[in-house]
Amino acid sequence: MATSQPRYRVPAPKFRPGDEPDFSDLKLQPAGEAKRPGIDCSWKDTVDHATGLVGALDHNHQAVGEWNPELDPDTLREGLRHMVLTRVYDERMQKLQRQGKMSFYMKSTGEEAVSVAAAMALRDSDMVFPSYRQQGILFARGRDIVDMMCHCISNSRDNLKGRQLPVHYTWAEGNFFSISGNLGTQFPQAVGWAMGARYKNEDQVTASWIGDGTTAEGDFHGALTLASTYRAPVIFNVVNNQWAISTFQGIAQGDAPSLAVKGLGYGLPSIRVDGNDFLAVYAATKWAADRARAGHGATLLELYTYRAAAHSTSDDPSGYRPKEEATKWPLGDPIERLKNHLIGLEEWDEQRHEAMEAELNDLVVKSYKEAESYGTLHDGPLSPVPSIFEDVTADTDWRLIRQRQDLGV
């Protein structure tokens, strides 16, 4: 039993299981207060933004301030629809995993705005290098749901031939890069891709996402160094959902006053954004994309949010945080907030919302039935066994030919 005082500081979260979570001393800048610098600004113009909080939806669900993207109601409804679809899909897939239909799943509950609003603010031709919790991008870009499910259940129509864990999507047609699973590797890759676009005189920008914990990885620092040096058109998104599996964000953040401030040291404009505010995420992403496209270089966005669900189906958060944290999170829920904003504008109501949820639920159920008709990981059919020897390199050398014979396929 450890009894002595710790000999060095090991940061700990404020609340553990059994504690009553209380975020009242989290000093968050009110929506509408942050200024919106010009897109040609320098890092110096964002010093306050890096520890502040860019928000556009206030407590009364009104759009306020310079970061209000002034989207028309149709666009807002579209965003709401993509976010609800993301959540309905996640819920369904989680259940199916529990029923043994797939090996693994990762929900993005509470973080739907981070991916959906960003994808809508980008052009579909912009390249994204996501981590494993941005499935919302796929819905916003219109990927076929059956195809997504076929990947997750690793069946005969999985476009990745059963080689990747569920949710590690690749969709080249949708300018969606292959998700790794090794944390942060995509951040510097996004810079290389962005430099390639500049090299080819194309006006695409790239956006990449990592979590709070991954800011400790060397690739985070390498990526920011490259982007700053070569002034690459990149948007670096750090999704600070407070938790890296069981490790609270303070273990990566240390004494830094925010994660966004880490960008300032590289000379990159760096902004902390209310990640549960659809309007703010949209506006900040659009601003960063406009900067990048105009040749002003990269931006670091810290999306301040909360991971309302477990890290994955292999994780049990009741072992390390209070159950009520998500509901006590001071920035609320992104879907509820956008829904209430639209209701306040008299462009939406509860009945339409329920009808939409029901419709999307039916769509997901129907899509799964179709996906299952192409097989499941458990019962097959899968991609043919010999396909494990394909795509290693462009040509198949004697080693793989012999090994395939050894396997007898």
């Binding site: 390249m127 476009n159 690749t170 292959s178 790794s180 290389g192 891709w193 160094t225």
Partner: protein
Amino acid sequence: MAKMNMIQALNSALDVAMENDPNVLCFGEDAGYFGGVFRVTAGLQKKYGLDRCFDAPINEAAIAAMAVGMAAKGLRPVAEIQFADYIFPAIDQIVSEMSRIRYRSAGQFTQPIVVRSPWGGGIRGGQTHSMSPEAFFTHVPGIKVVIPSNPYDAKGLLLASIESDDPIIFFEPKRIYNGPFDGQADGALQSWANHPKGEVPEGHYTVDLNKAEVVREGSAVTVVTYGTLVHVALAAAEKSGIDAEVIDLKTLTPYDIETISDSVKKTGRCIVANEAPRTSSFSAELAAQIQEDCFWSLEAPIHRIAGWDTPYPHAHEWSYFPGQQRFINAMKSVTETV
């Protein structure tokens, strides 16, 4: 034809590739304005512009990752890692990313990348400028490892590597950049000027990435090696008078098993050699595969020549590096076995 040393030949390969294909670009630490610490990229920035040959920050992982992103976008990056000993910070990007992206995306993204790096011992480089880390990479599905042993092959193999649609780790034996090496520390420096493989065409040509070469025909024993040790093996054969057949592998993965087994079946005896520490080095793979394919033709155990299982020493380099005498001893021992 022109007389070139290996540095000039590699430089010429990059020049030809950049001239022929605007998607080829190169970068690395000191690789831009200065042209690289070994001068392999000399003059390329001036000729092709800042955005085609440029200096990179000292972050090998970022250099490799930049290549991954560029290749996914359709470019053909050639990244330089200043010494093979410095490649380890990039290992996640090479092993977990560039090698697997074709596979994990089921062919939706490919990685036509060359990672070049000066490699191997014999230059008094101590433990951080002498390593032969090829076995770390031959163990990785999805990447190929290429190691030339002379200027002609260096240019042709580098051009073939740049034109390949898969990632290639291209290790350059820096001990023989300026001339072949017979494995005797106190011997006179040799030059490529009088060597037939120092004759290098100025224009475009390639050397087959899937082929080893019998560089000396013989009947007494087969020596399979690559890089600097090819020349040490040749010198040992001449000096000992043992009629060794010497095979220069050139490409380690996939290695040319056909050329190797044809030779071993003929000679019945085999030595496999590399500079790297013996345990789990590439010669272990060769020995295992050769005994599988040629067991009934073997008249003696396969003999391994390798570095010792120690870090690469500085002052005692010549007690570590597999020099001429070790080859002679091995050739005698293997051919004396009944």
